[in-house]
Structure formats: structure tokens, C-alpha cells
């Protein structure tokens, strides 16, 4: 590569980075994110995103020059980063100058004076030069990062990501720490400010991770081998300890996190339930169902109608008695939907089920059936579960008195949801390892061959539908009692799409994958209220990146893993 060539390349890369930064500004992200700090009084989330763009641009520009040779190689690479970062800043600066002269708000709603203020660091047009300078420095940092040895790159990346993560979810961690008692409260206030980490906290987090990372790369391998050489009992103890720790956090979290976060975790648990259900139809049997929310709705409405004190309540039976009925009704709905559409394959099946989901939502919310389902007003006054001795069998009077423990708060329902999720995960796991599970996977792989081997397609597919539907129905039932009222408008197509996405992100057919996917796609965005406006943008980006870089999912199913171990073991044996 010639020298002038590489400069021109860096300029192009920088302009590309600038365009991305401009896009982030114009969709309003910068302004919204500026209300959040990453490090208090040092850098806001909005600035962080822009600077991260500059750093990445510098890094990419520098990487493009990697085939340059000669004495000045390092210098060239640094220059490339600097130029690229500078160009990113220049694009934004030009935008500010243009915006100052011409009003472009008619087209770009987010091109506000507020945004210009942020981009010029509150200095007005006269301060327009600040951004290119900072951006150029960021580009230089990105390029310099590449010149560091590998051993240094890893801890720095990990520390930066960890710091970002701690800052992003500062709300969660802060509340949890404060609820631990006064001593912890002091620590919390030392580490966390109102909306981000403090400067001291940032340094502590950053260097803690750097030290741990360095120590791990130094001693980690020997720890790993000593764990691998533990006797069987020792390994089991370690595993049990890990499970106990996860269980302690999972069960204790809603108690210390306050109602808002508890509600988020319950939502995650409900999506796990739905995910496990769809994982049977989609992950195991390969039947793409885009109307899965229908079964959720059917479960919710069944519990609603059977237990509500409101005008549409039919029975006033207890929640515990209504749940099995809801599951059976959802299962029956799975059968009814299954019969006509199972002859349909692949893409066509997706469209047919999409229709089913919409029909259920529209019928439940329609005026035509309003006298049964409440139409747009929905079903209200749904009972909370009550833990009492004879509770499941009692037909409850109005007004109802709970003689045991009323599970009224989201934190309480959370335990119901976790119990249900554990039960369903167990069922799904057993099914997967059974004759039926293998038949499902065979259908997913090649349904003609499966049929030629004696698998009854109709029966097997119907079972996949019915069992998946039953699990979604259970989720819906818990949802109904959690919210206390249900509306057809909450049963949108987007719920079905969320469930499909979380399965894909987690790893098709993988049970732990469903849990990881639900936390990543449902839990994290709920916790980041600032992000909510851009939720679907980030959502789409996540899906695209996942499909490109890790199509098997965050936690792939056992078969793929077993396979990897086998290959590793055999290559080790060969060595």
C-alpha cells in the first residue's frame, strides 16, 4: 500500500465513522443518553457512545494499514487512527456549523440546539473545534490500542467493558447494595452516583478487573487443570456450590431490588416460560410459530375469567384451581390450531400461525365478543394467589378473604413464576431426551426421512404444538394474576416476535439458552429505561450481529457442545 493511499483510506473510514456518529445524533440518541452518566461529572452516556465511535473508527483505520511495512510503520498506523478520528469529529463539526446557519429541524426533528450544545461541550458555535480534537485523540487511542501487546489488550478491553456494564446498570446495583444495610449503603454511595459510577468507583472497577484479568492469564491455566484433576466428589461439590450461588442470587434478588426491578424479573421469568414452550415447537420440532402469543392470551384469559371479581368473572374459583384449567385450555387451543395448519410447511406455517395469533387478539378485543371478554376494557379484578391449606378447592366468595399468605406483590408472584419455570424446564429437558424429543428433532432436520422411519408426522407435530401451547398458557396464567387485569391490546404480535428472537439469540433448542436469551433480550432493555426509545433499533442490531458472529446462539444446545468436546478430546489424544 502506498503512503497517500493509506491516508486517503483513513479519511474514508473516518467519514464513514462520522456518518455513523451523525446517525446516532440525528435519531436523538445522543441527547437522550446525555441525561445518563457513565462516570459522574466526567463523561455522559451520550458522549461515551460518540467517543466509542471515534475510538472504533481509529482502530479500524489503523487495522486497515496493518500490511504497511517499514521503519515508520507504527507511526503510520497511529497517523491513520488520528486522521480517521479527526474526520469523524470533522463530520460532526460541519453538521453543527450547518445546523447553526440553516434550520434543519423540519426534516430532522432531533437536530435541536440542545444537541448542538452537547456536541460543542456547551461552548456554542465558537467551541466547535473541541469535538474534532477530542475525536482525533480518541482515534489515536484506538490506533495505539492495536500497537499494545496481546497480553495488555485483553485486560484493558475486559476492564472497559466491565466498567461500562457496571455504569449502565448502576441503578440496579446501587439499589441492591443500599438495601443490604448501612455499611453497604456507604460503599454504594462511594461507588455509585445518581445515574452512573463515581470517578473513584470507575477507577476501582477498572483496576480491579485489570488485576484479576492479569492474574487469571498468569495463573488461570493451573487453576483450570487443578479443577479438572479434582476427584469426582470435589467437582460435584464445586458444581453444587455454583448452583447454590446462582440460586441464592436468583431467589434473593427481588427481595432486595425493590418493586420495579422485581417486576422486570417476573417479566423475564414469564418470557422464559413462553420461550421454553416455543422452544419445543420451534427449537425441537422446527415449526416456526409467529402467533405464539395466542396461547399466552388464552391462558391469561382463562385464569381471568375463572377468578375475576370484575363484571366478566364467571366462577371466582381460586388461582391454583384455575391454572391447570388454563393449561388444558391452551393445550386444546394448540390442538385446534395444529390440525388445520400442520399440513403447511416452513414459511407458510409461519404466516398461518401469524394469522392465528392476530385472530385471537382481535376476537378477544372485539365489540362482538365484548360481553364475554370485555372487549377493549379487558378483564379486571383478577385474584391474587393465596397460599392457604384448602385454597385450591374453595370457591371463593366476594369479597374474598385470604386465610393464608396472600401473594400480592410482584416479588411474591416471582416465586410462583420461578417454580413454574423450573418445572417446565425439567419437563422440556425430559422430553428432549425421550423418544418424542428425538422424533421432533428428526422432523426439524428432515421431515420426509423422519416419516419414512415410522414417525407419525401429524401426531408428533400436534404434540409439539400442544405441549408448547400448554407452557405458554401457564405463562399467561401467571401474567394474569401478576397484573391483575388483562387487555387484548397487550397480546401484540411483538410478543411472539420477542419470544422467537430470544430463542434464536439464546440458541435454538437449548434450554439454558432460553434463560440467557430472555435475560439478554427482555431483562436488560427493561432495566435500561433510557434505551427504551431505541429498543427495537438495538434489538435489530443485536440480532444481526448475533446472526453474523454467533449463529448458534449464546448458549448452544447440548449436541453441539458434546460435539465440540469430542473433537477437542480426540485432537488432544492425537497430540
Amino acid at each position: 500500500m502506498k503512503k497517500e493511499n493509506f491516508l486517503w483510506n483513513s479519511i474514508k473510514t473516518g467519514m464513514l465513522g462520522g456518518s455513523i456518529a451523525l446517525f446516532i445524533c440525528l435519531i436523538g440518541m445522543t441527547e437522550v443518553f446525555s441525561k445518563r452518566d457513565v462516570i459522574e461529572k466526567v463523561i455522559t452516556l451520550g458522549q461515551f457512545v460518540l467517543l466509542a465511535t471515534s475510538v472504533m473508527t481509529g482502530l479500524i483505520a489503523s487495522r486497515q494499514t496493518s500490511q504497511l511495512v517499514g521503519e515508520n510503520r507504527s507511526l503510520h498506523r497511529l497517523t491513520a487512527g488520528l486522521v480517521a478520528g479527526l474526520m469523524t469529529g470533522v463530520v460532526l463539526a460541519l453538521f453543527v456549523l450547518a445546523g447553526d446557519k440553516v434550520n434543519i429541524r423540519a426534516v430532522f426533528l432531533n437536530a435541536t440546539p440542545g444537541l448542538y450544545n452537547i456536541l460543542t461541550f456547551e461552548k456554542g458555535v465558537s467551541g466547535v473545534w473541541v469535538l474534532p480534537v477530542i475525536s482525533a485523540v480518541s482515534g489515536l487511542i484506538g490506533a495505539a490500542f492495536l500497537l499494545l501487546p496481546q497480553a495488555a489488550q485483553k485486560p484493558l478491553t475486559q476492564a472497559t467493558l466491565f466498567l461500562f456494564f457496571m455504569a449502565l446498570f448502576s441503578g440496579l446495583f446501587r439499589v441492591v447494595l443500599i438495601n443490604q444495610g448501612t455499611n453497604w449503603e456507604k460503599i454504594a454511595k462511594y461507588l455509585y452516583g445518581q445515574t452512573g459510577v463515581t470517578s473513584e468507583g470507575a477507577l476501582i472497577f477498572f483496576f480491579a478487573v485489570v488485576i484479576i484479568s492479569v492474574l487469571w492469564s498468569w495463573r488461570g491455566q493451573s487453576v483450570k487443570t487443578s479443577v479438572a484433576h479434582l476427584p469426582k466428589g470435589g467437582k460435584l461439590t464445586l458444581r453444587l456450590l455454583a448452583f447454590a450461588a446462582i440460586g441464592y442470587v436468583a431467589l434473593g434478588l427481588p427481595q432486595v431490588s425493590g418493586p420495579f426491578i422485581a417486576q422486570v424479573i417476573v417479566t423475564v421469568a414469564l418470557f422464559i416460560l413462553m420461550g421454553l414452550g416455543l422452544n419445543i415447537t420451534l427449537g425441537f420440532a422446527g415449526l416456526l410459530d409467529l402467533g405464539f402469543v395466542a396461547f399466552y392470551a388464552i391462558g391469561a384469559y382463562t385464569v381471568g375469567l375463572l377468578t375475576s371479581y370484575g363484571p366478566f368473572g364467571l366462577q371466582h374459583i381460586s388461582f391454583w384451581a384455575a391454572v391447570p384449567i388454563a393449561v388444558l385450555v391452551a393445550m386444546a387451543a394448540g390442538f385446534v390450531l395444529g390440525l388445520p395448519v400442520l399440513g403447511v410447511r416452513g414459511d407458510y406455517l409461519a404466516i398461518a400461525t401469524l394469522g392465528f395469533g392476530e385472530i385471537v387478539r382481535l376476537l378477544a378485543g372485539s365489540d362482538f365478543l365484548a360481553k364475554y371478554f370485555g372487549g377493549p376494557q379487558g378483564v379486571i379484578g383478577i385474584q391474587k394467589p393465596c397460599l392457604g391449606v384448602l385454597e385450591p378447592f374453595v370457591k371463593i366468595d366476594v369479597p374474598r378473604v385470604c386465610n393464608g399468605i396472600e401473594l400480592g406483590k410482584p416479588q411474591d408472584i416471582y416465586y410462583v413464576a420461578v417454580a413454574a419455570a423450573l418445572l417446565i424446564a425439567f419437563v422440556a429437558w425430559r422430553l428432549r431426551e425421550s423418544r418424542l424429543g428425538r422424533a421432533w428433532m428428526a422432523i426439524r432436520e428432515d421431515e420426509d426421512v423422519a416419516e419414512a422411519l415410522g414417525v407419525n408426522l401429524i401426531q408428533t407435530k400436534l404434540l409439539a404444538y400442544m405441549l408448547g401451547a400448554a407452557m405458554a398458557g401457564l405463562g399467561g396464567a401467571i401474567f394474569a394474576t401478576l397484573i391483575g387485569s388483562i387487555f387484548a391490546s397487550s397480546m401484540q404480535l411483538i410478543v411472539s416476535i420477542n419470544v422467537v428472537s430470544l430463542i434464536i439469540v439464546g440458541g435454538m433448542g437449548s434450554i439454558p439458552g432460553v434463560i440467557v436469551g430472555a435475560i439478554a433480550l427482555i431483562g436488560l432493555p427493561e432495566l435500561l429505561r433510557e434505551v427504551s426509545e431505541f429498543r427495537y433499533l438495538l434489538y435489530g442490531m443485536t440480532l444481526i450481529i448475533m446472526m453474523l458472529s454467533k449463529p448458534e446462539g449464546l448458549w448452544p444446545s447440548q449436541a453441539a457442545k458434546r460435539e465440540l468436546h469430542h473433537v477437542e478430546a480426540s485432537t488432544e489424544a492425537e497430540l
Binding site: 425439567f426 419437563v427 425430559r430 422430553l431 431426551e433 425421550s434 423418544r435 418424542l436 424429543g437 428425538r438 422424533a439 428433532m441 428428526a442 426439524r444 432436520e445 428432515d446 420426509d448 426421512v449 423422519a450 416419516e451 419414512a452 422411519l453 415410522g454 414417525v455 407419525n456 408426522l457 404434540l463 405441549l467 449436541a559 453441539a560 458434546r562 460435539e563 469430542h566 473433537v567
Partner: protein
Amino acid sequence: MAPILTAKKVTKRFGGLVAVNTVDFEIPDKSIVSIIGPNGAGKTTFFNCITGFGKADEGEIAFEGMPIQRLRPDQISRLGISRTYQNIRLFAEMTALENILVGQHIFLNSSWLSAVLGTPRVRKEEKMALDEAQRLLDFVGLKGQGDLLARNLPYGAQRRLEIARALATKPKLLLLDEPSAGMNPRESEDLTAFIRRLRDEIGITILLIEHHMRVVMGISEQITVLDYGEKIAEGTPKEIQSNPRVIEAYLGRGAATEGMATAHERHSKKAG
């Protein structure tokens, strides 16, 4: 010997094309029978008619005296007909062992509820199925490769796994669609011996579609020749080799018998 499979006047059309045209066909019990013919002669289509993949438009197919042309593939499989595929069709994302276990599907009776509850009966059944799958894996020479994903097996192993999966259904009649495709002479020799073992040791009747003339002539007790969907000849390997209509179909008029095998191989190479 009584025929295990009888086909009478079987016809299959795709639109205007008659892929199989009024073919009469019989397979004697415990025999090894081959169907040969140039590419596009309707051999695989005929296989599909037997296994229920594509229903015959006319005619009658009876297995052990029972008409099967209206049955679904899974029902036909339960009667004791199993097959392999010209282009290997394994369950790619499942392990070798799981592939064979799917083949045992029809012999396992546990309901989904008992599987969830993990009743002793289910566990016993699963254990037996797993042992049987291991035995089949050993039988086809894939010992110790049960945990590999089917798609990661080498080509020859995939072919053998497909046969093991077909054997798991305990077939009385096994249909092999070009089992020696892509094999070198040594491998096809092993295959020939293996097929013979299936018949001699387990007593499975074999119906074979094959392009390698060496395999066909060496192993078959009866050969049926299809051309443009019609049966043009039937007989022992010797009879077929000297049948003028067969030579004409393969080589064109006036060609010599000796050149048949080599010329045929050239022909199939050109086409595929």
C-alpha cells in the same frame, strides 16, 4: 420362492411426463434384486412409489400380500420396508447415535407423560434402545463415533450410518439407492460383502439401485432394467449383459457388450 413385494402395472406421472410406465415387478423373498437404467429412467421414482414418498397414480403394490400403495410412509415403514437415499439424508444436527435411535422410534412405546415422569419402564426401554443403537453402530463399523454429529462424519461413514439407521427399523425389505456412489473400488467391494451379509446373516431382502456395474453384476440374483420409465428387460446378470435392448438403451444401437460397463460409467459421469 414367494415374492415379498409385488408391483402390478405401476404408473407415476409428473404432469405430462410419465416417470414410471406400467411396470410389473416382483422381488422374491430373501433375494438381492437390482434396478438399473440410464439416468432419468425412473428408478428413484419407483423407489418412492414403494416407500410411499410419492403415491403411484395407477397400479398396485403389495408387500407380503398386503396392498400398500395408499399407506403413509410411516405406516409402510412399520410393515417392514426401509430405505436409504441417493443423496445422503441423515439428520445432520443430531449425533450418530441419535440418528439410529430415531430409527428405533416404532419399537418404543413410552408416552410423553411417562417420559416426563421417568418411570422405570421408560428407563428400561431407553437403556435397551441405547444398547441396540450401539450394537448397530458397531455392526456397520462406526464403533466409538456415536457422539459425533452426523454432519461431521466422513462421507463413507455417513453412508454406513444411513444403513444402520435403516436397519434400526428392523426391515424385511431394504431399499438401497446407489449405496456405492462416490466410493472407490475397494470400498465398493467391502459394501458388496456387507450387503451380502445383511441377506445371509439377518435374512433381509435387498432391492438395489446401482450404477457401478461391478457391484450390480457381482451381487444381484435378478436385475430389472428401466428405460424412460418402462421395464425393458429382466433376468439374471448374465441374461442382462447379453440382452440387445439393454445394450441399446445404454450405448445406442450396434455397440459391443464388453464396452457396457465402462461406457456406462462415462455416461453417468457426464450426467451427474
